[in-house]
């Protein structure tokens, strides 16, 4: 069954709050939200590095956060003081943000909102398949002058 728009909007608000809290709490730099939109066309909105979380339980779908390398580099610099992180570090950072943002939503949606371990990738993997029966909501954000996308797909 398709999620109603009101329910979908409410879920997206939870993710927006979770993203804002992540950046504010850890960096003391607020993220800015641009106008969210529902994605109609084929293809995914992706930056260089992405961390994706599968959602199961009483909701099904996915959430991912995708950003350019520079955003993850800035975060890693703040967190552990490394100036030139490896690709592995960048992917790890992408996965950890997605994990925290998705996991924090459970404060509101409860333990039946189940999340997977992060799947991380660089660029656009050819084998990545997105279910056709999900509504895809794109939330563009800017943190510390870096643009990123929070993308939520839920049945």
């Amino acid at each position: 069954m398709k999620t109603s728009k009101a329910e979908f909007d409410a879920t997206c608000s939870l993710f927006i709050n979770s993203v804002n809290n992540y950046f504010r709490h850890l960096t003391e730099i607020d993220s800015e939200l641009n106008v969210p939109y529902i994605k109609q066309s084929e293809g995914l909105v992706l930056k260089d590095y992405t961390g994706m979380i599968g959602i199961s339980g009483n909701r099904k779908g996915f959430v991912y956060i995708s950003a350019d390398r520079h955003m993850y580099e800035d975060l890693i610099k703040i967190f552990i003081g490394i100036d030139d992180p490896s690709d592995e570090d960048i992917l790890d950072m992408a996965g950890e943000i997605s994990n925290v943002v998705a996991g924090n939503v459970r404060a509101n949606l409860g333990a039946n909102f189940m999340i997977s371990v992060p799947v991380v990738f660089q660029g656009m993997p050819s084998q990545l398949k997105i279910p056709s029966d999900v509504s895809i909501y794109v939330i563009p954000i800017v943190w510390n002058n870096h643009e990123a996308y929070v993308v939520i797909g839920l049945q």
């Binding site: 967190f79 552990i80 950890e96 924090n104 371990v117």
Partner: protein, 123 residues
């Protein structure tokens, strides 16, 4: 105080390590999943364990069950993004001594370890 850090994120393991360096704590190991963590627990019997929940293979709650069997004296502090109350209660019920929700900054870690170590002084 001998500490084992368990988290599937290498960045997160290093964040914890960095922010606890001012404490009188020896980090005796790090692990990216429950299976590896359990090996280290059996071999080195750490006093304190920080334990993530969402990890590949054996997750943190399953690992906590096993830790409480093989090394029940370990003080386990859960550090997880799963911020629903039920998960926290489950972890405490299974024997965790502390619970911290990600995202965690330096102050969060310091406060949590202050509480944990102060509790230990009284035991």
């Amino acid at each position: 105080m001998r500490l084992l850090i368990v988290d599937d994120s290498s960045i997160m393991r290093r964040i914890i390590e960095k922010n606890l360096k001012d404490y009188d704590i020896e980090i005796i190991g790090t692990a990216p999943d429950g299976h590896k963590a359990l090996e280290i627990v059996k071999e080195k019997k750490p006093d304190v364990i920080t334990l993530d929940i969402t990890m590949p293979g054996m997750d943190g709650l399953a690992c906590l069950d096993e830790i409480m069997v093989v090394h029940p004296a370990a003080k386990v502090m859960i550090i997880t993004a799963l911020s629903d109350k039920l998960t926290g209660l489950r972890a405490l019920d299974k024997g965790a001594r502390g619970f911290l929700y990600k995202p965690v900054n330096a102050d969060d870690l310091a406060n949590a370890f202050d509480r944990l170590l102060k509790r230990n002084e009284n035991k």
